[in-house]
């Protein structure tokens, strides 16, 4: 990390700050006389960094020179070589004052303006996607931190449980403690720190953006390869001829090879298997067990508990059966004895291989956290005297919105409501005010002429060069600049 022009000479655990002639000796964990520079594990850091992301060219990582020339033509697709983020810009509340830093940099004759502010978001929250089939709790169940309600379980997505946390109701509508705990939880989640969430009538899950969820103390490893039915479809050919029956246990849709369309196509004979649960279509069963954190997102630890007795008309002693979960994490192999009862046996090598194949096709389970906030009237007025013009400008794609330099998704419709993947922001980008509300960086980038046209605070526009002495310069790797999800 580069911290301005400032360097620190280490002296035992203390460091000597040379940011100004006071030359404070600063102990670890303490700040200097100015409260601006601090000793963080022996490293001199700015407490209120104003982060400037200096971008490197994606090909070869060559540094783009400051205020590079080039062919920037004012189009959105082009990005300036240097970009000022709002992190550490500071703000005031309420926001009727101009944003603290309104920075201009001239690129090939076109004045670029980045209006930098740290928005205070009372209307904000996080959407959490937790890659697991384990049962975390019923839909709409309350999600708690330290006993305080901070959000709820929302509708599940493919291979993932979804939580919706924060929002104006929990931030401001409940008790004072509820607001504070919600604010802390949102800030920690947004700053990629782990937060323990308990779900009423469900599990305790530790969520950290970019890391696997830990459900009831067990770290989730993989997303399922598909639902039980899909798994049958994907692997039917590989199982054909190696085993008489396969049951893929899944809380949502449990698949049965011999009955499934995929099995029928391979002329796999009936096995007389009898599933519990509600049959949806042939070979596809709902609700074979209660949801839980056992096999395939059900509560079971004994897979045979989802089976009824085999039908003696079709079943025969010695018949073989594989039972496997949708992640391959649980698997067992059975043979029917003389009384047609399944007896667990050592799994043949080729079936073990198929279980490994299921595991291999499961993606690593992760928690992803999207911060979502609405840039309301007051924040926009920090940018322009005529706030609605900023909204229109964003909608017309004349103004690009970013958060801490990271790309955002701006919701269609009214206002400037955006979502951003918190792992793409620099560390510690989010803060809070005791209101309580979250402080998140937000940047609006547009042509200077457009800025003037929408009633911008032209008298507060500063050239980028004026920030270089007071700002932390961070280099962003090409990877950080690329969208993360390629799928």
């Amino acid at each position: 990390m580069l911290t301005d022009t400032t360097t620190a000479a280490a002296n035992a655990d203390k460091i000597r700050c040379d940011a100004c002639p006071v030359m404070c000796y600063i102990k670890p964990g303490a700040a200097g006389a100015c409260d601006r520079y601090a000793n963080h594990n022996g490293e001199l850091v700015r407490v209120d960094p104003h982060v400037v992301l200096e971008r490197t060219v994606s090909h070869g990582g060559r540094l783009v020179p400051f205020q590079a020339g080039g062919d920037w033509d004012g189009k959105i697709v082009h990005e300036p070589s240097m970009f000022v983020t709002a992190i550490g810009a500071g703000t005031t509340y309420p926001d009727y004052k101009p944003a603290p830093f309104i920075v201009s940099s001239e690129i090939d004759g076109v004045d670029m303006v980045t209006v930098v502010t740290e928005g205070i978001f009372s209307y904000c929250g996080v959407k959490v996607k937790i890659d697991t089939d384990r049962y975390l709790g019923p839909e709409t169940a309350t999600v708690r931190v330290q006993g305080e309600a901070v959000g709820h379980v929302t509708t599940g997505e493919y291979g993932s449980q979804m939580l919706s946390l924060g929002g104006v109701h929990h931030l401001t509508g409940g008790s004072k403690k509820e607001g504070r705990v919600t604010c802390d939880a949102l800030m920690d989640l947004s700053n990629c720190k782990p937060v323990e969430l308990t779900i009423d009538g469900g599990a305790t899950v530790v969520v950290q953006a970019g890391y696997p969820p830990i459900v009831n103390g067990v770290a989730e490893e993989r997303m399922r390869v598909g639902c039980g039915s899909a798994t049958i479809g994907m692997f039917a050919k590989q199982w054909h001829g190696k085993v008489d029956e396969v049951v893929v246990v899944d809380d949502h849709i449990t698949g049965v090879l011999s009955e499934h369309q995929a099995g029928k196509l391979l002329d796999i004979p009936d096995t007389g298997i009898k599933m519990k649960g509600r049959r949806s279509t042939p070979g596809r069963y709902f609700q074979v067990a209660e949801p839980g954190t056992g096999w395939g997102g059900t509560m079971i630890s004994d897979p045979l508990s989802v089976l009824g007795p085999f039908d003696p008309k079709q079943a025969r002693p010695g018949m073989t059966m594989l039972m496997v979960s949708t992640t391959g994490e649980h698997a067992a192999y059975f043979e029917l004895d003389a009384a047609l009862k399944p007896v667990e046996k050592e799994m043949p090598a080729d079936l073990k291989f198929s279980v490994e194949r299921i595991k291999e096709n499961c993606e690593p389970a992760l928690c992803t956290v999207l911060f979502m906030g609405g840039a309301g009237g007051s924040l926009r007025s920090g940018v322009t005297e005529n706030p609605v013009r900023l909204t229109r400008s964003v909608k017309d794609a004349l103004t690009r919105v970013t958060s801490g330099g990271a790309p955002v998704y701006v919701w269609p419709g009214g206002g400037i409501t955006f979502m951003v993947d918190v792992t793409r922001l620099p560390a510690g980008a989010f803060g809070y005010v005791p209101t309580p509300a979250l402080v998140a960086p937000i940047e609006f980038t547009l042509k200077l002429s457009d800025y003037a046209a929408l009633g911008g605070h032209m008298d507060h526009v500063r050239p980028l060069a004026s920030l270089k002495d007071s700002a932390e310069i961070r280099q962003m790797t090409p990877q950080q600049l690329q969208p993360k999800s390629g799928a």
Binding site: A19, P21, V22, C24, Y25, K27, C34, T92, K97, D459
Partner: protein, 300 residues
């Protein structure tokens, strides 16, 4: 040369000057040309001020001699003059008046360059004032410097001798030997107010009380001018009697300084209790406009 940060605050009216630990909010009222000239003078005088001060930093961090000083700089000498009256009876270094002395210096530069109706230089709560005839300031008294919320206001008029205001206490940026949450002092100069606030805040104390956690200053800041002296870190809940006792000690000190002409008035605050010494027009009414403002806007 290392240049300070100089710019207008968001309101476009107040000037913000920052260099190292010095953070000034300046506002002048007068004709446009005078205000401009005053701000220019403030910016000019501020540039390099910290560097000059730091040249004498080792001497400034030593206990002041009541009779003489080897300090050369104008601001440094003003700091010494402000603390010298206390140096015989107390441990005090010129640093106890640094904030007020800097505020005074900048205001002096402004007044030398322009004719103003009213002006102030607020250095983190230590404020130098200018009032032309007929003008007045309403000063808000903060409860705690780290969590500024106005508890009272008082009025300073042109006819009053007061031209400096300072607040000290254990929540501020510098350490306190006492337990006061806030002691606000009115004095003839900002440097005098600054030094007196330190002395009176130190006097608000209940020595040896188990609810007060103290620790050597140099354990917290290795180069603190207070060295191994015990500074207050935490104050647990005190009984009503102990709060009264601590405030009484502070009030006695304030009255003594008032009698010597070192201060013009004082307001002391500890755990919800407050005492006023010689302040007039103390008004419990809190102007709504300043409810949410930070330290920089204690002055309205």
């Amino acid at each position: 040369m290392r240049l300070p940060q100089i710019g207008f605050l968001a309101d476009g009216r107040r000037l913000h000057l920052q260099d190292g630990p010095i953070d000034l909010i300046v506002e002048a009222r007068g004709s446009e040309a005078d205000v401009r000239a005053a701000y220019d003078a403030a910016a000019r005088r501020f540039t390099g001020l910290l560097d000059t001060l730091c040249e004498e930093l080792p001497e400034l961090r030593k206990a002041a001699d009541p009779a003489s000083s080897r300090l050369q700089g104008k601001v440094a000498r003003r700091m010494h003059e402000a603390v010298a009256p206390y140096a015989a009876d107390h441990f005090i270094t010129p640093m106890a008046a640094v904030a007020g002395a800097v505020a005074e210096e900048i205001l002096g530069a402004m007044m030398g360059a322009a004719s103003l109706d009213r002006a102030y230089v607020n250095n983190g709560g230590d404020i130098a004032l200018h009032l032309a005839r007929g003008e007045h300031f309403t000063v808000g008294l903060v409860d705690r410097p780290d969590r500024p919320s106005l508890m009272k206001t008082t009025v300073i008029e042109a006819d009053d001798p007061t031209r400096g205001v300072a607040t000290s206490g254990r929540h501020g940026r510098s350490f306190s030997l006492g337990i006061a949450d806030a002691v606000t002092i009115l004095a003839r100069t900002a440097a005098q107010a600054d030094a007196a606030a330190t002395i009176i805040a130190n006097a608000v104390d209940v020595p040896g009380h188990p609810a007060v956690l103290r620790c050597p200053a140099h354990d917290l800041q290795p180069d603190s001018d207070l060295g191994a002296r015990l500074v207050t870190r935490e104050v647990g809940d005190l009984s009503h009697y102990k709060i009264e006792q601590a405030l009484d000690a502070g009030v006695r000190m304030a009255r003594a300084l008032l009698a010597q002409g070192l201060i013009e008035g004082a307001a002391l605050r500890l755990q919800g209790e407050s005492r006023i010494v010689a302040l007039k027009d103390v008004d419990m009414r809190v102007p709504p406009v300043v409810r949410y403002v930070a330290k920089e806007s204690v002055m309205q």
